[in-house]
């Protein structure tokens, strides 16, 4: 294995190259741009034998990926924020069409106001589309995740598109040491051709994506749900297999950090899990048993694994890097839903933090744990917007 210092974006581009992607269609948007620039270099130098379609919009990027995947090619695109929202119609299309496209989303806040900085609103806005949604913590994981994503997406039990999320700037532009797997290893792990549940085949003409009347539409949509349930199993299988091949195991659907004897937990997705782990270590040194549950997948939502991981905890803080006005915390709501039917469940307190790239440090995570314990004492969970200037922001 070759070791290099790569940014999160460069790691994604390398994953795309190792996965032998055949068609790339992408439109630039900060902070995704260096992914597509790197891929363009690979293609230009002949290191990646792919057709790079420099489309004129993100909607066209996903449309071109849909066309390419329907034609039997392994397809990739990447975007952020506005670009993801713009292509949303086609994002839904890719899942309904059961096409194993992989897309890297470099998570960035949505406008207005304009912000190029990190939050998770973009990806979470697409949570109903039927895409598998995975979240990387490190550049190494981002590289591995792109390869794993194709493996999961193309599995015959799944055949759904997969989103690899990485935090804008915080991960996309941060440089870390990365071990690049050998091409031969990736070739063994990832079969060369996408499977053929259907390919456009001139010798077997079919019309794809026709009208389905009310007597069949529900069943077609429910198949996406069934595929997503299968994806949960496949994600774990694939992580296990990758672990055997490379020594790098990430925990499957969730990563559990010091959870076994934890009395309080931090639940979140993305690169700030690193800061949360630092806070957990610091608090443990002071005698508080803190654990961190990092959601590697939010779709399928890992309800069972989550419930297992929080067993024994008195309280959990769900830290959401997005805001769904009126709800307001997407992840907190999904965690509560997952735990609702359990006989014993911890107090769940939701925190909205870090929107638009606002910095959240280990000290902040420690404070969040403190606020959670306070809520536990009062017996009331709720949701608060952490660190809102000028006061307000919830019942914390």
């Amino acid at each position: 294995m070759a070791r290099a210092v790569l940014s999160g974006n460069e790691a994604v581009a390398l994953g795309v190259k190792l996965a032998r992607v055949q068609v790339v269609a992408a439109y630039p948007i900060t902070p995704q741009t260096t992914i597509v620039e790197k891929i363009a270099e690979y293609v230009d130098r002949g290191e990646l034998k792919a057709r790079f379609i420099t489309v004129e919009s993100e909607h066209s990027a996903m449309a071109a990926c849909v066309g390419a995947a329907a034609g039997g090619a392994r397809a990739f695109t990447a975007t952020s924020s506005q670009g993801l929202l713009y292509m949303s119609e086609m994002v839904f299309w890719a899942a309904g069409a059961r096409l194993p496209i992989v897309m890297a989303v470099v998570n960035r806040a949505v406008a207005p106001p304009w912000s190029i900085w990190c939050d998770h609103n973009d990806a979470l806005s697409q949570r109903d589309a039927g895409w598998i949604q995975l979240w990387a913590e490190s550049a190494q994981e981002a590289l591995d995740m792109v390869i794993q994503a194709y493996r999961v997406a193309e599995d015959e039990r799944v055949l759904l598109p997969a989103m690899v999320n990485l935090d804008g700037f915080l991960l996309s532009h941060a440089y870390e040491p990365v071990d690049a797997p050998e091409q031969a290893l990736v070739d063994r792990f990832l079969p060369e051709k996408t499977p053929a549940p259907y390919w456009i085949d001139p010798s077997n003409p079919r019309s794809y994506g026709t009208i389905a009347a009310p007597d069949t539409y529900m069943e077609f949509r429910y198949k996406v749900q069934e595929a997503m349930e299968n994806a949960a199993r496949v994600i774990e299988e694939v992580d296990e297999e990758w672990g055997k091949l490379t020594g790098r195991r990430y925990g499957g659907l969730i990563e559990r950090y010091r959870c076994d004897d934890a009395e309080v937990g931090l639940i979140l997705a993305g690169s700030w899990a690193g800061d949360a782990k630092e806070a957990a270590d610091a608090l443990r040194r002071k005698g508080l048993r803190v654990g961190v549950i990092r959601l590697r997948a939010t779709r399928p939502f890992p309800a069972e694994r989550l419930a297992e991981a929080v067993e024994g905890m008195d309280a959990v803080a769900v830290v959401d890097r997005s805001l769904s006005p009126g709800l307001p915390s997407v992840l907190a709501a999904e965690v509560k839903a997952a735990l609702y039917d359990r006989a014993r469940r911890p107090l769940v307190k939701g925190f909205i933090a870090g929107l638009g790239g606002r910095d959240v440090t280990p000290l902040d995570f420690a404070r969040i744990v403190e606020l959670t314990l306070k809520s536990l004492k009062e017996g009331v969970g709720g949701v608060e917007c952490y660190g809102l200037r000028g006061g307000g922001g919830g019942d914390g």
Partner: protein, 305 residues
């Protein structure tokens, strides 16, 4: 020029489909299939042809057909062509899109694909409104036409889609009409033999949307050409030539009066009333201007730009 007898007998768009009686899009699809001998794949955005296919599990299409979202046909076709090439399959990819999905919501993707010179054939079947959703105006609706969203007649002139595409300097652009199917077949065959971006704008007189009896569909299409309202031409590598019946109509005195075309259509009925004389003149002016554009092009040796 191919003759009727030389066309393949095979049908590649099977009878008993969902189109209205007398549908020009259906006729166009039959001719497209015969032009290419059933060896091509179709990309079809939202529009009449989505519904003409009927409902799962049946389709009239004997060639592979990818249905796609309204704005996305040119991009989806670009990706599809790339994939087929990577598989070593040398099969034409043909977009079959309505005027809505071409000059309005689909224009950006069309322009992008043309600028990239994608190796696809884009056919726009133009029934001059959003017919599938119930006859609302499009950027291709002619001035003066009644539609549900222009109840007093459209005030604006239409976009000239063929010239817009020609401005991208692609290898082949043509106009055609379902009333002149052999001319259309020749153009499809010529286009398919060229590498790069090809565009054919196919006039498709819609009985349902234009308000005339289905039996008159081909006659209305013929009158469009005979009166000069629709011009048949092709642009090969930037050089324009009139084709078929239009070759004889550069001289305005050879064209039948526009009223001969308009009076058959309910959507233009109001234009023939004296109080709407101004609207009628605006439509006639737009027809004359289209011919003046062609004349000026021909006078400089056919160079469009």
């Amino acid at each position: 020029m191919v003759t009727v007898r030389e066309l393949p007998v095979e049908e590649y768009w099977l009878p008993g489909h969902s189109a209205c009686p007398g549908c020009p899009a259906a006729l166009g699809l039959r001719m497209l299939g015969k032009a290419l001998g059933g060896r091509f794949v179709l990309v079809v955005p939202a529009g009449c042809t989505t519904v003409i296919q009927g409902i799962y599990p049946r389709t009239p299409s004997r060639v592979p057909l990818l249905n796609i979202a309204f704005a996305a046909s040119a991009s989806a076709a670009s990706g599809l062509k790339a994939a087929l090439e990577l598989r070593g399959l040398d099969v034409p990819v043909v977009v079959w899109a309505g005027d809505g999905g071409t000059v309005d919501i689909g224009l950006q993707a069309l322009s992008g694909a043309a600028e990239r010179n994608e190796d696809i054939l884009y056919v726009c079947y133009d029934n001059e409104a959003y017919q599938n959703t119930g006859i609302q105006r499009s950027g291709s609706t002619p001035a003066g036409a009644w539609t549900t969203t222009t109840p007093s007649g459209k005030r604006e002139r239409r976009k000239d889609a063929a010239l817009i595409v020609a401005a991208h300097r692609v290898p082949y652009v043509a106009t055609a009409s379902v009333a002149y199917p052999l001319d259309f077949v020749e153009k499809v065959r010529k286009a398919a033999s060229i590498k790069g971006f090809k565009y054919i704008h196919l006039h498709a007189p819609c009985p349902t949307g234009w308000r005339f009896p289905p039996s008159k569909m081909v006659e209305v299409g013929r009158l469009a050409v005979e009166t000069g309202a629709w011009i048949l031409y092709e642009v090969e590598n930037g050089v324009l030539k009139l084709t078929g019946r239009s070759r004889a109509l550069l001289d305005p005195s050879k064209r039948r009066p526009l009223e001969d075309y308009l009076r058959l259509q309910g959507r233009f009925a109001h234009l023939l009333r004296p109080e709407n004389r101004e609207q009628l003149e605006r439509l006639k002016k737009s027809v004359d201007e289209a011919w003046e554009t062609v004349r000026a092009i021909l006078e400089r040796g056919g160079r469009v730009f």
